[in-house]
């Protein structure tokens, strides 16, 4: 019994060590979203190009959809873009939120790189993004058919992220009634 008691500090130390090691592996940039399970905060954003529809939170119910936050000034967005275009070709509904820049810059970016979005809105001040808890671009929110946030992807959607995480989730959300 005394032997065991003497080993207690060692045991606690090992436990702490394991905890801290696990903590080191976590990416501190990936934060939990406050919106999981909640409806999207209300926003109504103007379009990137005059004459288009823009993007309002109220339009996003009906089917599971990806809400992709992007900007022309964002490096990783360039990396993510081909994946988004491929998803569009596969029929995945994606809408875009052009964060913290002039609409013209966002429009030029889509003209040059291709437009993967069903519709896109320009959030020049960044307030709609801040309401979503966006801390950087790209970020993507997976919305269910009732317009609730079900998942938040911080950073680019790579083919791996799509196959392993988002595609299965979208399939599940489509099966939900």
């Amino acid at each position: 019994m005394r032997r065991l008691l003497a080993l207690l500090p060692v045991g606690l130390f090992v436990l702490l060590l394991v905890g801290f090691m696990a903590g080191l592996r976590r990416d501190p940039a990936i934060l939990p979203s406050m919106l999981i399970g909640k409806p999207l905060p209300a926003f109504a954003l103007p379009p990137l190009k005059a004459g288009e529809t823009g993007l309002a939170s109220a339009d996003l119910a009906g089917q599971p959809v990806l809400l992709n936050v992007f900007a022309s000034w964002c490096g990783p967005c360039k990396e993510e873009h081909p994946t988004l275009l491929r998803l569009k070709a596969d029929g995945v509904p994606i809408v875009g939120l052009d964060w913290k820049e002039e609409a013209a810059d966002g429009a030029r970016w889509l003209d040059e790189n291709g437009d993967p979005y069903l519709r896109a809105g320009n959030d020049r001040t960044g307030r709609a993004g801040i309401d979503l808890g966006v801390s950087g671009v790209p970020e993507t929110f997976v919305l269910d058919r009732r317009g609730r946030v079900r998942y938040r992807q911080v950073g680019a959607i790579t083919p791996d992220v799509w196959v392993q995480t988002i595609a299965p989730l979208m399939a599940r959300l489509r099966a939900e009634s």
């Binding site: 934060l31 939990p32 406050m34 913290k100 979503l132 808890g133 801390s135 950087g136």
Partner: protein, 159 residues
């Protein structure tokens, strides 16, 4: 030379005072501005995560400083203004984590470890002193007397 030194000192002093907060962000009312300033020093910048939004030059930190000041100017209490950001970014924006169920380990952990260690040390010391307890035996007494005597002799001889 003296002038160069002086201007260097002035530059350093100014550099110390220079913060990320720009004049156009500041509220006209110095009382409200002071409140906003104090709050923003307690809020984490989401981009450069170990800086407060008061220190950070990141565009998002600028936006959050402006939002915080808007809330305060609109009549929010400190608590309400901070909650506005917590609703969007979670408790993570608080540089000082709140005391709640999921942070008990964080706040109470060090105290618990100290108590545990202290108890361990106390038990150990008590166990040791218990074995050393009791009067000296006759033999020990004699040995002690002999040792003290030789020590005194050595001291007297040394002086």
């Amino acid at each position: 030379m003296r002038r160069v030194l002086l201007s260097a000192c002035a530059a350093l002093a100014l550099a110390g005072a220079a913060r990320a907060v720009t004049p156009d962000e500041q509220l006209a009312d110095p009382k409200l501005e002071a409140r906003a300033r104090a709050l923003s020093q307690e809020l984490r910048c989401l981009v450069c995560q170990n800086q407060s939004i008061d220190d950070s030059a990141a565009p998002l930190a600028h936006d959050l400083r402006v939002i915080l000041r808007e809330r305060i100017a609109a009549g929010d209490t400190d608590r309400q203004a901070v909650d506005y950001l917590v609703r969007r970014y979670g408790d993570f924006v608080l540089l000082r984590p709140p005391f709640q169920a999921d942070t008990w380990a964080l706040w109470l952990g060090p105290v618990a470890v100290l108590l545990l260690g202290g108890t361990g040390v106390a038990l150990y010391v008590r166990a040791r002193s218990r074995t050393a307890e009791g009067a000296l035996s006759v033999v020990e007494e004699a040995e002690l007397g002999r040792l003290l005597a030789t020590e005194d002799m050595a001291k007297d001889g040394g002086d």
